[in-house]
């Protein structure tokens, strides 16, 4: 079993001296996700958005820390809580909002909704409504790269809930056996739907990866630079043909499992715990580090915040104004 020591990662990648543009890119993408998700919260609460929404608020550092290490042709698969991954990989907020509102200009012309957004041009193989569903797809994309001799790697984002699905073991076994270029990113937000991992998950996650001989590391998922360090290690070794890698990012979702899970409706976690995690806000932490470290001025970050705010507002207006799909589309694209 090969478990990577986090100290080694710290030594290999000097988190305090990365290019300023990279820091700003990470900051921008995290703020974009936060503003997008809180806007979804608002749209859903006001009845503008139908269906289901699983918000990524509080977990932004994971998607961003990983996706900034990827190339354009790399593939990702995502989860039911997928907005963050899509935005981090370059997804267009206008087409995402349009999809959430069931509009023709949406990524999936309104046929997928929140849990199924795909952008093949950006290597986004899709959010997925089935827990662990994306693991097969991402691992298959890795197999595809190997057979075709293509240069891409694929990244599977999945949650602590998926870690208990059988599919993870079936596909990670093959990935390790065949040295497929796949990086597994476990987003451990400590709750699978309404049940804590302490009540659902035996042992520890790294040992499960280790059992497949997949090198694994666990990091603070609310520290974007820690995620970046681990992802860089994972992506580099996997891209070099050394086989799959595994990174556990420990984090927390501020909102409920989905929009129907508000306050104490289900009574599975308490307000004190939520507030404790909100103090560890990944964006606030990163912002403070950038300002306190004299890397950027607070005013520059304020300006970025405002630009993103405008971009999100404009995206929502675009989505609201977009037409609904023509009724004839209901029978289109069942078959190729």
């Amino acid at each position: 079993m090969i478990l990577k020591n986090t100290d080694e990662l710290t030594q290999a990648i000097d988190r305090d001296h990365l290019p300023t543009e990279l820091y700003l890119e990470m900051y921008s993408r995290m703020v974009t996700i936060r503003k997008f998700e809180e806007t979804v919260y608002d749209l859903y609460s006001r009845g503008v958005m139908p269906g289901l929404a699983h918000l990524y608020t509080g977990m932004e550092a994971v998607a961003v820390g990983v996706c900034v290490t990827l190339e354009a042709e790399d593939k990702i698969s995502s989860t039911h809580r997928g907005h963050g991954h899509l935005l981090a990989k370059g997804g267009d907020p206008r087409r995402m909002f349009a999809e959430l509102l069931g509009k023709e200009s949406g990524y999936n012309r309104g046929k997928g909704g929140s849990m199924h957004i795909v952008d093949m041009n950006l290597g986004i193989l899709g959010a997925n409504g089935v827990v662990a569903g994306g693991l097969g797809i991402a691992t298959g994309a890795g197999l595809s790269a190997k057979i075709q001799g293509a240069g891409w790697i694929s990244v599977a984002f999945f949650g602590d809930g998926a870690l208990n699905e059988g599919l993870f073991y079936e596909v990670s076994n093959m990935a390790s056996l065949w040295k497929l270029p796949v990086v597994y990113i476990l987003e451990n937000n400590h709750y699978g739907e309404y049940t804590s991992t302490s009540r659902s998950t035996a042992g520890n996650a790294l040992a499960r990866a280790g059992a497949m001989d997949i090198p694994a590391v666990s990091v603070d998922g609310n520290d974007v630079l820690a995620v970046y360090q681990a992802a860089t290690w994972a992506v580099e070794r996997t891209r070099a043909g050394e086989g799959p890698s595994f990174v556990e990012c420990k984090t927390y979702r501020w909102r409920g499992h989905h929009m129907g899970d508000q306050g104490d409706t289900y009574g599975y976690r308490n307000q004190a715990e939520i507030e404790e995690w909100m103090k560890k806000c990944p964006i606030q932490r990163f912002r403070s580090a950038l300002v306190d470290g004299n890397i950027v001025e607070a005013s520059q970050l304020d300006q970025i915040d405002n630009q993103i705010e405008q971009r999100i507002l404009e995206a929502v207006e675009f989505a609201k104004a977009a037409p609904y799909p023509d009724p004839s589309e209901v029978y289109q694209d069942v078959y190729a």
Binding site: K111, G112, M120, L125, G136, T139, G140, L167, D333
Partner: protein
């Protein structure tokens, strides 16, 4: 038939189609349990590993959901996987991948991706293999929009339909009745394909119509032969592809004969026979002399004891009885 042909088995026909398609298109690869080095438990994939190597002919762990899951991801990203699930009973282990992923991705993404995936699997009872190695689950997959369901009954059809399946841009369930693997017949040489959704009339007749799928063709032809001796001329039609279904040919025959029996080895209740019967009755109601009859597997888990198993599967005696009743 203008294409040159030879006589061979369904096993050889499928094997030949796989070889030819892998030579024709390097995006085609095969994957499954024991299909490489060992050539598959029914020897359907024999020789592929030797010709194409382990990269394109992949022996997998026993992990049906994983196999199909990987195939979906590979199909989405430019390859054309052909996977073998050893027994159709085991497709249930991969049913999330088949039903929730493969079948729906194109529609859910409004056509942004295609899933050119073939799932070959051995179905059918009669091998004394009991309840978990004998089922015919075609109705499950016919029920799902986005999937195509193909059931060949002859070597010629097996070759032509499999080649079409591999070239199709959709997920295709290719159901092979294990009891027909040794069935012999002409195999057209070379680039021979059969379009989906075209039934084949195996025998012409004007007194009654039998619509039968897969291995049910053989007891049906036997029954037709016996009935002909009694002066009852039966038309025997194999739809070959169940989804899409060649409704037109089936209805035309019903209009002509006025008496229709539908036979499929899946369970009779809520099965393929029910759907075909409903469509034929809708299309030919005014021409029918009686409601369409159905014959499927008995609604029980397939028993092991040969004496019991034989009672669960449609056979020529039962078919003859039903047609006689209909013509009485």
């Amino acid at each position: 038939m203008s294409t040159p042909e030879r006589i061979g088995t369904i096993r050889e026909a499928i094997n030949e189609a796989l070889h030819e398609e892998m030579r024709r298109d390097e995006r085609v690869f095969v994957m499954g349990e024991d299909i490489g080095l060992a050539g598959g438990i029914f020897k359907i994939t024999a020789g592929l590993y030797q010709e194409f190597g382990g990269e394109r002919v992949r022996d997998t762990p026993i992990a049906e959901a994983g196999i199909v899951g990987l195939a979906v991801g590979a199909a989405m990203t430019g390859l054309r996987p052909v996977v073998e699930i050893m027994f159709s009973d085991f497709t249930t282990l991969a049913s999330d991948q088949i039903v929730n992923q493969a079948a729906k991705l194109r529609y859910m993404t409004a056509g942004q991706c295609k899933i050119p995936l073939v799932i070959r699997t051995a179905m059918g009872a009669g091998r004394r293999a009991a309840a978990q190695h004998s089922q015919s689950l075609q109705a499950w997959y016919c029920h799902i929009p986005g999937l195509k369901v193909i059931m060949p009954s002859t070597p010629e059809d097996a070759k032509g339909l499999l080649k079409t399946a591999i070239r199709d841009d959709n997920p295709v369930m290719f159901l092979e009745d294990k009891m027909t693997y040794n069935q012999k017949g002409p195999i057209p040489e070379g680039d021979y394909t059969i379009p989906f959704g075209e039934a084949r009339i195996h025998r012409y007749g004007s007194d009654a119509t039998i619509i039968c799928t897969s291995s049910m063709l053989y007891p049906s032809l036997e029954a037709a032969e016996r009935l002909a001796a009694e002066g009852i001329e039966v038309e025997v039609i194999d739809p070959r592809s169940i989804s899409p279904l060649d409704e037109k040919t089936l209805v035309q025959s019903a209009v002509k004969t006025g008496h229709v029996l539908v036979i499929d080895e899946g369970y009779q209740s809520f099965g393929v026979t029910a759907e075909i019967a409903a469509r034929v009755m809708q299309g030919a109601f005014d021409y029918l002399d009686e409601p369409v009859r159905r014959l499927g597997a008995a609604d029980v888990p397939i028993p092991f004891a040969p004496s019991l198993e034989d009672l669960t599967i449609p056979n020529a005696d039962r078919i003859v009885e039903i047609i006689r009743e209909m013509r009485a």
